[in-house]
Amino acid sequence: MATFDGGDSTALPGAAVTPGAAPLGAAGEAAVEPRARRRWLRGLLIALAALVLATAGALVALATVGGAYRAEEVPGPRAAVLAAAPDAKRLDRAESRIKAAGPHAGYIVVDTYRNRLRFYRDGKLQREAKCSTGSGIVLRDPRDGRQWVFDTPQGEFEVQRKVKHPIWAKPDWAFIEDGYLPPPSGSPARFDDFSLGDYAMYMADGYIIHGTVFPNLLGQRVTHGCIRLGDEDLVWVFKNTPVGTKVYLY
């Protein structure tokens, strides 16, 4: 009888041979071989099982140490908030403050990711136009490391003044970007009566809604922070935008 610890009576030298059984020798060795193979196979299977178990144990140990994110529902209001009786006066007061902060006439919204300008009146969309907004590029002055970030800002602005046939007083960066030393202030080279188009609406911090000499770039982020419009849209917006109009940039 074969046992896992290697005991096998027929394989032992000197063991009794039952009547009719083949004597030990070549045939006996042939009979031992499959048994040895089986033994090895069994051993291998047990080793594999042990390996699988050990690996699983190691993975569970790792997972226990590591932890993972568990999903939860976004909680509802706190019990105290749920239990609170609705206070109509308090709610009205808060809502009135919110409403009062918003625009009271037409207003402009500029989506700087999609490069779209929308004009609303009484909450209704009146016109949507392709525009160009800030490229997000950073320009560095090689002389002193001064930097300009060409972003269109975010938040609420206001049209402070409107100008027909605007002249652009070019700032330093407009020269540095082209590799030139900025000319002294007041130099005729500083003034450009072409680039802003026919109309300009000035907001705070030097940001302007104006025309463009590159209509093919409308819809893209290519400007130095200003908002460029095509001719037709610029005329419409200029006519419909009184000074004081709110401009929301995002």
């Binding site: 976004v74 706190r78 609705p86 403050r97 919110i98 989506d111 950073v138 938040g155």
Partner: protein, 248 residues
């Protein structure tokens, strides 16, 4: 030659030892962030403090927003019950981004029951750190030469800037001032057991190698890849996020 049974036993034993050893050798977990969970322990309950009188959810939310509209800055309004994120300023809805999924994710051990401190909502959070900016490009001429109008070939003084090809990522995280993070994802996070197990094994492996990663609690919103990209630039430092409570 060793007997197979002995080899197997030795092999199995060594693996089990390694597994057990890893558990034993693992250093104690570092102190958890405020929002992380802790195992339930039978402890003496501290006397509960009476909560201040609260307004109902709608009033609380309106009052928080009324405080925000005094500033011209943009703010974002996350409404899990309606599954929308609104871009607002002065109470005006400038844009509405539909959310495919909203959930909260807390890093917890894989096994056992855990309790987490309840997140007080509605609430105002601020962006403490913007997501990494992939779209910035810096240009700097090597030297500047004196201006010569005759040299200027362009039709106008405004330089033509080629639009950048780089798009913002469609999955990213934004650090918030309350220790939480807002995860903007383009796929619904997988939180079934197998996914969590795989993640836990990876985390455990990293932990064994001394790579300590913070696992702050997350509010995960899933949007389309395009919406995720267009939201990216709105998460500037100190941008306020007004978060409504979930469905009660």
């Amino acid at each position: 030659m060793p007997r197979p049974s002995l080899s197997c036993a030795l092999l199995a034993g060594s693996f089990l030892l390694v597994g057990g050893g890893m558990l034993a050798a693992a250093p104690a977990r570092p102190a958890r962030a405020g929002g992380e969970t802790r195992p339930v322990k039978p402890t003496k309950k501290a006397p509960e403090k009476p909560e201040a009188p609260a307004a109902d959810a709608a009033t609380t939310l309106a009052e928080l927003e009324a405080g925000l509209v005094t500033s011209p800055a943009l703010y974002l309004f996350l409404d899990p019950a309606r599954s929308v994120l609104e871009v607002k300023s002065r109470g005006v809805v400038l844009d509405t981004i539909p959310l495919r999924h909203v959930t909260m994710l807390r890093h917890t051990p894989l096994f056992g029951t855990y309790e987490a401190p309840r997140l007080p909502l509605p609430a105002l959070w601020q962006v403490a750190e913007s997501p990494e900016d992939f779209s910035r490009e810096t240009i700097a001429p090597e030297a500047l030469r004196p201006f010569n109008p005759n040299e200027v070939e362009k039709v106008a003084g405004v330089k033509v800037t080629e639009p950048t090809e780089k798009l913002p990522p469609s999955s990213y995280r934004v650090k918030l001032d309350n220790g939480w993070e807002l995860a903007v994802l383009d796929e619904v996070p997988r939180t079934h057991f197998f996914a969590r197990f795989v993640q836990a094994v990876k985390n455990g492996w990293a932990h064994l190698h001394g790579e300590s990663h913070a696992h702050p609690p997350l509010v995960a919103i899933t949007v389309t890849p395009d919406d995720a990209r267009r939201l990216h630039h709105l998460f500037r430092l100190k941008t306020t996020l007004l978060v409504a409570a979930g469905a009660s």
